[in-house]
């Protein structure tokens, strides 16, 4: 009962926020036309791989995030300006040294299995993510700095950190550390993977592997994140979450009305859809890193900054991005996604300039050309081994790589594109058998830079995985990133990240391409669909079907 007033306030705040940002492309007009109708079944077709586990704590990839957004909730969320807003936690405070955080939890929330949501539940969740047996990677990294938890009261949970973490709230907003029922977590991992229990507007009803997950409405649900359009239970009665890997089939299914929403829409279909009045487009670039090619500075030839710059200058990216993506995305010159307010763009560094590239290569000693027209140095051909993960790079992106390959050839680079499955790709990375690579990474906030480019990230885990593919080993950069992560002062933090990004970009370690794409297409009859501004996953809480 006490909660009601604050709930109302938050709801009001959300509405006003909406009013301010109504023209944003990232969020569809929620409840814009007509009166929401309750009921109906919505069919969602995902082009991503079917998750092996519906609990995003386990592992923690984007496909899991997509679906888990419908049945799990986080402590906090983010509005489309990048500001943290309340969700399961109504307010939070931090100690002056930044090592202790108190979260006040919303009252009267229960998991769909009846377990109450309280401080103990949060403790159990953090413990679950940090338990090595869970096998969490994304969530684990997000909560790395939490050393212990404490239930101050049933409604207040306290987190103790090893070091200040300016990214903590951003980390906690991600669905990979969302709250699950402690009772359910006590089951075996297989059971929990098959039907995780959260507090969200929908519940997992049935999962037919290799086919579809059926979600049903949680009738006891009261409210979403603070920027939701309504309160109470969701409108939709049921969501059928299908997996249709073939993009042409997926789009055809949307066209013919077999499915209502698809993700991973191909650029050409987006253009087509935008011309039609039957299909709508929701563009929600993922936060975190942009899509970029990372150059392996850990070994020849890219251990030479001149060669790195030469490669970047010889790659004609703009034309390709324009034609391949049909203007659905813009060329990026930043390491970070355009969804990140702190992203620094440097168009000056990434222009196509073959003359300069040639000059740089001459200066770097790659002066000779062999019969095929490739440059050589001491009899070695200027070869760039570029393993491409077919699971992670969409066709248009692979085509872009081919175009880069073709333009770089003119300067004398022999780019060897080798498409491979995920497992082989990881293996190639683990063996350091690459000169260039493109790997997406999604994380809310600029702290992603620390994960990707701090020299700690060069040391491979026992499995051989490491995040610093560019093998950037720059003490100054390390310092900047560590400081930024521990600074809670917004301006100081922004300054540090700007410096870090400039340093990174000027070192020519990465060739930014464009934002990580996240395009959803949906039938016109689907109303009120929007993407959560955390990791840009769609939420169907406010959605309803007009037919």
């Amino acid at each position: 009962m006490r909660q009601r007033a604050s709930t109302l306030l938050i709801a009001l705040a959300a509405v006003s926020a909406l009013g301010l940002t109504g023209c944003s492309t990232a969020s569809a007009p929620a409840g814009a036309s007509g009166t929401p109708v309750a009921g109906g079944t919505l069919t969602y077709a995902s082009g991503d791989a079917e998750p092996t586990c519906l609990d995003p704590h386990v592992g923690g990839n984007y496909p899991q995030a997509l679906i888990a957004t419908q049945y799990l909730e986080s402590l906090v969320s983010r509005d489309d300006k990048g500001a943290i807003i309340p969700w399961l936690a109504t307010k939070w405070t931090t100690s002056p040294d930044g090592l202790t955080w108190d979260f006040t939890l919303r009252d009267g929330v229960t998991f769909t299995d009846g377990t109450p949501f309280d401080a103990a539940a949060v403790q159990a969740n953090i413990a679950h993510v940090q338990d090595p047996n869970t096998g969490s990677s994304t969530g684990y990294l997000a909560l790395q700095k939490i050393t212990s938890t404490e239930a101050v009261s049933p409604q207040v949970v306290r987190l103790h950190l090893s070091a200040p973490d300016s990214a903590l709230l951003e980390s906690l907003s991600q669905v990979w550390v969302a709250m699950e029922s402690p009772t359910a977590l006590k089951r075996t991992q297989d059971e929990n993977c098959a039907s995780p229990v959260g507090t969200g507007p929908f519940m997992v009803k049935k999962w037919v592997k290799q086919d579809a997950v059926t979600l049903v409405r949680n009738d006891d649900y009261t409210q979403g994140p603070a920027d939701s359009a309504h309160t109470g239970a969701a409108y939709l009665e049921r969501i059928v979450w299908k997996f249709i890997p073939d993009s042409a089939s997926r789009y055809a299914a949307l066209q013919s009305g077999q499915v209502d929403v698809i993700d991973n829409a191909q650029p050409d279909t987006i253009v087509q859809a935008e011309k039609s009045d039957q299909i709508r487009h929701l563009d929600a670039p993922r936060p975190g890193a942009s899509n970029r090619i990372e150059l392996n500075a850990g070994k020849a030839p890219f251990n030479d900054v001149k060669v790195r710059e030469a490669f970047i200058r010889s790659a004609n990216v703009d034309a390709g991005v324009t034609s391949l993506f049909f203007d659905t995305t813009k060329r990026s010159t930043s390491v970070l996604s355009s969804a990140e307010p702190l992203a620094v763009s440097r168009p000056d560094l990434f222009g196509y300039d073959p003359d300069q590239a040639n000059a740089l290569l001459d200066a770097a000693g790659w002066t000779k050309r062999d019969a095929a027209g490739y440059r050589t140095k001491n009899g070695t051909r200027l070869t760039v081994v570029f393993p491409v993960s077919t699971n992670q790079s969409i066709p248009a992106e692979q085509s872009l790589f081919e175009q880069i390959q073709a333009t770089a050839k003119q300067t004398g680079f022999d780019v060897k594109l080798t498409p491979m499955d995920l497992s082989s790709w990881y293996a190639a990375l683990g063996e350091n058998a690459y000169d260039a690579v493109s790997a997406p990474y999604t994380k809310v906030g600029p702290d992603v830079l620390r994960i990707l480019y701090h020299s700690d990230g060069i040391t491979p885990a026992p499995s051989g995985y490491f995040a610093n593919h560019a093998q950037v080993n720059d003490k100054q950069l390390d310092t900047l990133l560590t400081q930024a992560a521990e600074t809670s002062d917004a301006d100081a933090r922004a300054d540090l990240y700007t410096k870090a990004q400039n340093r990174l970009l000027e070192g020519f370690y990465v060739l930014p391409l464009y934002d990580q794409q996240n395009h959803y297409l949906y039938r016109d009859a689907v109303k009120g669909l929007r993407a959560l501004p955390t990791v840009s996953t769609p939420t169907f809480y406010d959605a309803w079907l007009a037919d």
Partner: protein, 332 residues
Amino acid sequence: MRTRTSSTPAIVGSPARRDRVRRVLRHPVLVHSAGGVFVLWAVATLTFFAVRLIPGDPAQAVLGGPGSQASPEALAAVRAEYGFDQPLFVQYLRELGRLATGDLGRSYALNMDVAPLLLAQLGGTLTLALLSLAVAWLLALALATWSTQGGRAARAFGSGLEITAAALPHFWLATALIIVFSTGLGLLPPISVPGPVGLILPVLTLAVPLAGFLGQIMRESFEAALESPFVLSARARGEGELGIRFVHVLRHAALPAVNLSGWAFGSLISGAVVVETIFARPGLGRTLLNAVTVRDVPVVIGVVLIVALAYIVMTLATDLAGAALDPRGKRA
């Protein structure tokens, strides 16, 4: 009890009984079943050793591949749990023991037992394959019946149609069908939806090329049968063209195609890999392709075994059908 002399009927009857036993032992169903068990064993063995050749650490695969950051302890635990630390032969025997009890092991990637997983997928694929086989049969028969009735032009047209159909790659045909019937005409769903409507396009995709193959074979025997003296005899009795075709020629034309149906079934399973992917239809083919891309060895073995089993049953069925159609027995 008195010892019976050799002249007693019971003893006299024993060679007959032996004959009967021999006959039973030579009964096609029994012979096939014994052969089938052998084939299953061999398939399991072959696959078991073949998948050991797959590069990469199986324990790593269990833990989600090289990207999963598994700890050495976890890897060791998995190795012990799955017996990867045992000598190969011991692993093999264990595997056989498990398979013999119907336990297909546990999927590395899907976190569930393989047997129930595949059992759930089997129905879809079998429906698809058997329906396609039936439709292919109908198409081939209809074309052969129709085109052998016409003149040379009709025959050439029929034959050309068959050759072209047989040359159509599944993935291309599927695309064409989707464009025409879903995107263009909006008649049929481009993905598999529950119910018979969702089956039409996948079944057509599989059936048309197969009909081309079967049709070529049927046409040959159809034309040969049409020229045989017994057809002349039947005509002389006043049998009409339809009667000739359905009462007499059909059986003869069907025989070689029936005998090929075992093979055809196998090729349908191959086609199902493509078709299930394109039409987003749950089934063994799609499961297999997924398992191959993520190196989910137990699922691969499971699919291979189930397909082999289905193939064996199918071969038995076609042999029996062939024997029912043609009781003359096989000529060597």
